[in-house]
């Protein structure tokens, strides 16, 4: 199979080349990084709901919609991307999604291990450290009868800019997303205390992908791929494509941090008033909760205690936990039941 080891390339090329290859019937493994940072949204996302477009415009940060799934991400030259394009009829490309991800990500897991990070695959598409922190983001698409897998080795990560480019309801929520990202997403630099040389990272990836794919032949990018990429650019850089998906706004905002970890803001209208809840959920359990709104809650100082009480509670048990708290502390909240609070937290 051909290997296109391209180093740092103009940001648009870092997306267009893997979109072009399958359309030309070409397989290959592409390794690259963008020279300039940009924001990339998933195929089905509504860019206006996900990204602070005016901030990106002011900062000169381009925004791109990919054909691959997943969420909005901030990409830069500190992330080494692998983009694998395989014909869909290859035995290697058969199976259900979980087994395909497991198979195709095995070389990446091994690369992290070879670099000194005790990494493992976590279904469906994450690679995590022994402490459970995500250290690689991955997505896939079926393009022109090919399977395309894209993902990254994260050498370093700009957490501040990542949370700044997202469209979030307020600064408090932004702080929460930032804290959750810092806690749940790690990098080679944080794990090893240093960034391995670029050449070491690429050579290790190549060696491990050869175990899966067979010999990889370093190949210059064919002119036809450049031509197809230029042709695709005419479409993929249009406003129509970027704003393609319009979704009905959800009641609230959800930012997925890693598999099973998300920060959610919900608004629930109870008869006694509006409830706003910001919840960090990990594997179905409340990690932390903040509750506010224009409801009445007596004794008022018990609201913070209720938030503490909810830490560690499974979402499905939230209503019962709140009801128990009400009983223990003789809480009264006219027009707002434990069920209303549980609904605001995302239970039910």
């Amino acid at each position: 199979m051909n290997l296109y080891d391209l180093g740092h390339v103009p940001w648009l090329d870092s997306q267009l080349i893997y979109h072009a290859l399958p359309r030309l019937g070409l397989e290959g493994l592409i390794l690259l990084a963008p020279k300039e940072p940009y924001v990339c949204i998933g195929y089905h996302q509504d860019v206006e709901q996900e990204v602070d477009l005016s901030y990106c415009r002011r900062q000169g940060i381009p925004v791109f919609r990919r054909e691959v799934g997943g969420g909005a991400v901030y990409l830069d030259g500190q992330q080494l991307f692998y983009q694998l394009v395989l014909r869909r009829d290859r035995p290697l490309a058969l199976g259900d999604k979980a087994s395909l991800y497991r198979r195709l990500l095995a070389p990446v897991v091994q690369t992290y291990r070879d670099l000194g990070v005790d990494a493992r695959y976590k279904p469906v598409n994450d690679i995590i450290t022994a402490e459970g922190r995500k250290i690689s983001g991955n997505g896939a698409a079926e393009i022109a009868d090919h399977l395309v897998l894209v993902g990254n080795l994260i050498a370093d990560f700009d957490y501040e800019t990542m949370v700044r480019v997202l469209r979030l309801p307020d600064e408090k929520f932004r702080d929460k997303v930032f804290a959750s990202l810092r806690e749940n997403l790690t990098t080679l630099k944080r794990e090893l205390g240093r960034i391995p040389p670029w050449e070491t990272m690429t050579a290790t990836l190549i060696r491990n992908f050869e175990t899966l794919l067979g010999p990889l032949t370093p190949t210059p990018l064919p002119p036809a791929v450049r031509e197809k990429a230029a042709e695709l650019a005419a479409f993929y850089t249009t406003t129509d494509w970027l704003h393609k998906a319009r979704r009905r706004p959800h009641k609230g905002r959800r930012v997925k941090i890693a598999e099973g970890v998300e920060v959610v803001r919900r608004v629930h209208k109870a008869p006694g008033g509006l409830i706003r809840a910001t919840v960090e959920v990990r594997q179905g359990r409340i990690e932390s909760a903040e509750i506010s709104g224009d409801f009445f809650f007596y004794p008022a100082e018990k609201l913070a205690a209720l938030e503490d009480h909810l830490a560690g509670v499974a979402l499905e048990d939230a209503e019962e936990a709140i009801a128990a708290f009400y009983r223990a502390h003789a809480v009264e909240s006219p027009g707002m039941t434990p069920r209303d609070l549980a609904l605001a937290l995302g239970a039910g």
């Binding site: 998933g42 195929y43 089905h44 054909e67 691959v68 799934g69 997943g70 969420g71 058969l94 199976g95 259900d96 999604k97 979980a98 087994s99 991800y101 469906v124 598409n125 991955n138 997505g139 896939a140 698409a141 079926e142 998906a245 979704r247 009905r248």
Partner: protein, 138 residues
């Protein structure tokens, strides 16, 4: 009837790409089969064709996303989309939960008769599902 543990109602037509069609006169209601939704996994997003769009049997007409994986679904019939199930764009999981009921995808005014469709009771169909199950490790 059940084939390999998956439900396939007797009154529907099926293709080889895990779609079903209920054909009434020149209008077909179409969707994903129970096996198709299981193969897709938990569906997070779906992008549906707009009413008025012409779709062609065997050609992609909608996309689904599960596990950050975007796949394209081939149409079971040819024709003009009359109506789509907008609920799916809001809550795509109803395809997983009720593929033959609330999870219907579109109604299509047929252009020509679809070719090669099968009934759940056809031995060829049971063999197809068994082979697909083995191929995809379901």
């Amino acid at each position: 009837m059940k084939i390999e543990g998956y439900e396939f109602p007797d009154d529907l037509w099926y293709d080889r790409h895990h779609n079903w069609a209920r054909i009434e006169g020149d209008v077909a209601t179409i969707g994903l089969t129970d096996f198709g939704q299981a193969l897709a996994g938990e569906i997070l997003y779906a992008e549906l064709p707009r009413p008025g769009r012409k779709i062609t049997q065997g050609r992609p007409y909608m996309s689904l996303e599960s596990g950050k994986w975007v796949g394209h679904i081939k149409a079971i019939v040819s024709g003009t989309v009359l109506e789509v199930n907008e609920e799916i764009e809001f809550e795509s999981r109803i395809i997983n939960e009720d593929p033959y009921g609330q999870g219907w995808v579109a109604r299509v005014r047929l252009e020509g008769q679809p070719e090669g469709l099968l009934r759940a009771g056809d031995p060829e169909f049971a063999a197809l599902i068994a082979a697909e199950k083995k191929k995809h490790g379901k």
